[in-house]
């Protein structure tokens, strides 16, 4: 593809006569830097190569030889997800007069459409003898309704005669590009050699942070490793690139973009029913015959999916086999975002996912507790026992062997069970700054329950008398945080144990021994 683009651009430079604009081609990138940003508002979750919502900013260094006067420089091989209007070109001695991005791509349809009104060669092959006859023809019309051409005999329709026939075009696919191409018009007072930097935003990239928290044998500390998964959904490989990723939510502005809808040419015919055909269906006077399947636009889409699947299947094994590289240095402050540099240059191939180490911290002390959300509604008589949620808590500071920015992502929490790591849960982590608390919900603890019921009102007072029962059927003592939510204009007036407010909600903190049951009396009052 790359080579084809190059050849076409060179070929296109010959027939220029009217304007004194020379065509030039920038060299392939001699250096590349890629900064990958994640999809806005996506915190963790799976990456799918076929639909990546993030983007990258790519800076390419290229060399150019500029003639004197005006020159049009083509940059071939830019990522196909390029947002053309974001392109910045620097390093041209004469500056940039204009930047262009052309979406007129070379395809069978485009070739025929461009040849309308032009002399082409009509080639017919005798199916029996293989004898080829070539006739001069002129295409009069080419559309998705069919193709009409004229020869010395008169006017005919393509592929309606039942003969094997096709057009042969002379010259290159002028003005048509193998890939969307960015070009720049510049002016130079004398021939010169320049090193040009091209920076642009390209869609269809993404990255993800994935953490694995392995709980140690002591049950009190864990080791936290983090991986960055980078994904390139473009058809262009970014070889040997300095690579950065940026963490943090940044704003993007989306405008409706025009799809590249080139007119399609399909060689349809006139009504072609014969006496052996099935009867006409009502509503459609005739069936159009389509000798070509009009699907040329989607031809490479299947291929993309196949490739993506292949990589999807591969990536887990690749992850296993990859020797763990050193964790990168702590991120750099980029405004209010975090910039991570991948320590070595890497190649992110077309439609590839790649992983690199983000963090590797060990012996992080943590505590587990059980969170119980009790929603107390005085007009309900009772609530059946509800299981608690297992929570894991730590703090992102140096005392806890952390104290570094943690980009949002899923944390796979594992614990060894007979030498085999078992998954306890996979909570989501939001972007977490230094000194923030980590409060992660692991899963449901069915052995710790909370039920409540309403008692009869005493002396007709207007309070709701409730009893909350907590039970622990586990083999260990359990630290429980019981959050007492009252709604609908009611509030907690009194509790039999202390319930200070945490985040605006009265919270009882207690420890239940194994097999213990405890009751707490609560009075609800109307505000």
């Amino acid at each position: 593809m790359l080579r084809l683009a190059f050849v076409l651009t060179v070929a296109a430079s010959f027939p220029v006569a009217a304007q004194e604009v020379r065509d030039g081609v920038a060299s392939a990138p001699t250096d590349r830097s890629v900064t990958i940003y994640r999809a806005p508002h996506r915190n963790g979750g799976q990456l799918t190569l076929s639909s990546l919502g993030g983007f990258a900013v790519i800076t390419e260094t290229r060399e150019v030889n500029l003639p004197a006067g005006e020159a049009r420089l083509a940059f071939a091989g830019v990522a196909d997800g390029i947002v053309a209007e974001s392109a910045i070109v620097s390093g041209l001695p004469g500056g940039v007069i204009e930047k262009n991005r052309d979406d007129a791509l070379l395809s069978p349809s485009a070739l025929m459409h461009a040849a309308v009104g032009r002399e082409v060669a009509l080639q017919r092959v005798n199916r029996k003898t293989g004898r080829t006859t070539v006739t001069a023809a002129r295409i009069l019309s080419a559309s998705d309704q069919g193709v009409i051409f004229a020869t010395a005999d008169g006017n005919e329709a393509l592929r309606c005669s039942g003969l094997a026939e096709q057009f042969r075009y002379s010259g290159g696919g002028e003005g048509l590009f193998a890939q969307p191409t960015l070009s720049v018009l510049t002016r130079s007072s004398r021939p010169s050699h320049a090193v040009v930097k091209l920076t642009y935003i390209a869609e269809n990239f993404d990255w993800n942070a994935n953490y694995i928290a392995r709980i140690g044998a002591d049950g009190k500390t864990l080791n936290l490793t983090g991986w960055i998964t980078m994904a390139n959904g473009n058809g262009v490989s970014l070889a040997n690139a300095r690579t950065q990723i940026v963490a943090g939510g940044l704003n993007r502005a989306y405008l409706r973009r025009f799809v590249n809808d080139q007119p399609r040419v399909i060689a349809r015919c006139w009504p072609m029913q014969t006496t052996s055909d099935i009867p006409e269906t009502s509503g459609r006077p005739y069936e159009l015959v389509r000798p070509w399947l009009g699907q040329e636009g989607n031809a490479d889409r299947d291929e993309v999916i196949v490739t993506a699947r292949r990589f999807n299947l591969k990536s887990p094994t690749a992850m296993m086999a990859m020797p763990a590289p050193a964790a990168p240095p702590p991120p750099e402050q980029l405004g209010d975002l975090k910039l991570y540099r991948v320590p070595e240059r890497i190649t992110i191939a077309a439609r590839q996912m790649k992983q690199t180490r983000l963090i590797d911290q060990s012996a992080i002390p943590f505590e587990t507790y059980y969170r119980v959300e009790a929603h107390l509604l005085p007009w309900v008589t009772s609530a059946a026992p509800q299981p608690a949620t297992t929570m894991l808590r730590s703090t992102n500071d140096l005392a806890h062997h952390l104290g570094l920015p943690l980009p949002a992502g899923a944390i796979l929490v594992e614990q060894d069970q007979g030498g085999q790591p078992m998954v306890l849960g996979e909570p989501e982590l939001l972007d977490t700054a230094q000194d923030e608390q980590l409060d992660l919900a692991l899963g449901v603890a069915n052995d710790i329950t909370c039920a409540w019921k309403r008692l009869p009102a005493a002396n007709g007072d207007r309070l709701g008398h409730l009893v909350v029962t907590l039970t622990n059927a586990t083999t260990h003592g359990a630290a429980i945080e019981l959050r007492l939510n009252a709604g609908g204009g009611w509030s907690i007036h009194h509790t039999s144990v202390d319930a200070p407010k945490v985040d605006g909600v009265p919270t009882v903190k207690l420890t239940l021994a194994s097999g213990e049951e405890r009751t707490i009396a609560i009075n609800l009052g109307r505000d």
């Binding site: 193709v147 039942g162 704003n251 405008l255 920015p405 972007d431 923030e436």
Partner: protein, 467 residues
Amino acid sequence: MKNAARWAALAVWLAPGVALAAPAEGQSAQGDVSVTIYANNQALVQDVRSITFKGGREKIEFRNVSAQIRPETASLVATDAQVIEQNFDYDLLSPAKIMENAVGETVTLVRTNPANGTETRETARILAANGGVVLQIGNRIEVLRDDGLPVRVIFDHVPENMRADPTLSVTVDAGSGTRPATLRYLTPGLGWRADYVALFDEAKGQIDVQGWITLTNNSGTTYKNAATLLVAGNPRLIGQGFQGIPTSAPDGDATMTEAGTESGTRARLGDYYLYPLAERTTVANMQTKQVSFLDVHGAPASHGYEFRLGWMQTSEQPLSAATVYQFSTSGKAGLGDQLPAGIVRFYLRDAKGQAQFIGEHAIAHTPMGSRLSISTGDAFDVKVKPVVESRTRLGNGHWRTAMRYTLTNALPGPVTVRLLQAGLWGDVKVESESQKSTRPEADVAEWLVPVPANGKVDVTAAFDSRG
């Protein structure tokens, strides 16, 4: 793309050659083209073509007009020429159409013997083209290709009104001679907006802004070597309703904090600003073209934080404050220009000096002298955790809500956060608060909260609401 234009021009020049028995000789490719492009995907195309009039009534065909031309807006002006009738034809020449048109006419059939390849010619009259084609050959009647063997059908002419491209034809009554004629029409499919590259320097508190005009052509036609003028403004046009996401000119949601009152030096048309391109350019079909129009270095700019809470609510997780960059478009201490609607992309230099993208935002048409406050995204290290401490009913529909906002700063330097509590509809009073608030709008309370480096600050407020 220049070649594409040449190509299209060539196509047009060659098209009428063979079988089109066109009545007029005045066919021409585009002449001297000027394009005036509005920000709402509309353009006025003026095409001055040199036409050789034969004298008297004749039909002149204009090929290479926009494929999306609004024919009702087309007008042709030439000296000593009067327009009698204007037609816009787009009856596409296709096999089905040419066959339908040939009903009752005579065509030539060329049969190829499948065994030895010999060709035999005969003349046939087409009786019908319903479902299949029924032919009369001499005095026998046949169905075309009923036996499935190869038969070429050769038509001796193409119906006059059928074309490969949309074509505007004008019947004029003119004196003979060659002279320029001006064709003018409106067409959708051409639009533009601005794209800005803003490089912020935190240490100097300065911003460099480059403005680019981004022009898109999806009208189906290439405009060769056109004098191009861009109009910053959206003239209201009949039949243009709301179209969802804007195609070219974004609205810019509340980035202008103060509208300017200064007048720029740019050319104006009515209430619109004009941006002529310095040089003629070819606007190719399916092309995005960018031309620079603004380059300002070292305008003062500041960087701040803003957190806006839509209503009184608790968040279990701390929420990031928005990063905000502020600058002016004023002539004295700013960019010194009005800004057409577009997208501003912010960049910062990283530790190695490379510019890195930090977020973008749409802006609306902004007069000179305005103040802009543009959010680029979330601050990783500056967060606010709002908590409803209590909500007490004081009477019927009368409540007291106590809020606590915990502001945290994990940065090594102090920051000031503009904390906004919105949603104070009706008669909401701030009953008590830990620091003094202002009310920039009726339903918003604002605190400017300094947060020390690696520090934490609590702001509390009690709101008394009736309603």
